[in-house]
């Protein structure tokens, strides 16, 4: 069972690193928002695997809160970018 946790955590860490590359490259702001959103979901997954490994089930509650925060952040960024466009079209 230990080898399973090692493999899972390495895969998730590599996934977070790859997403971070997109966060730095991302040509526009929208790409960075997508990368941040995916990164938050990856952190939730890492918390779930850590909850199984350590038996600390309170981590699942934290994972839900991280997910809610990420969703609110994504919606806020989408509204912000949309409003930005509206101003440009008025000019």
């Amino acid at each position: 069972m230990t080898i399973v946790f090692i493999i899972v955590e390495i895969m998730l860490a590599v996934a977070i690193a790859i997403t971070f590359i997109r966060l730095m490259l991302g040509p526009t702001m929208v790409n960075r928002v997508v990368a941040l959103d995916l990164m938050a979901i990856l952190v939730v997954g890492m918390m779930a695997s850590e909850a199984v490994r350590s038996g600390e089930h309170a981590l699942l509650d934290v994972a839900v809160v991280v997910g809610i925060t990420a969703f609110i952040g994504t919606v806020a960024f989408a509204v912000l970018i949309d409003r930005d466009t509206g101003d440009k079209q008025d000019d």
Binding site: I7, V30, A35, I41, V52, I81, D82
Partner: protein, 109 residues
Amino acid sequence: MTNILIAFCLLSGALFMLIAAIGVLRLPDLYQRLHASSKAATLGVALLLLGAALHSGDMGVVTRCLMAIAFFMATAPVGAHLITRAAYNHNEPLAKETLSDEWAEDRKN
């Protein structure tokens, strides 16, 4: 037996999340990146939370895990749709391979 099921859930969930990350890095335009991020990552996190629910055996934890899975399945499409619409309004370029853009044709009329 349960251990094998938990290991399968965790490994396949982590694999789907890795595929989502690779897709976000390598796909050519924003809309395809969002496609990878919203579908594969949701399935991955649902499998990981299902593994945690199977592991605990406590009814309260199972309920919370199922609630979290339902939450992610409900919010991921909403967030992806909002970002895609904002990006399209912001004239985010489409990939060269794109075959049709029906919204642009509708807007011309």
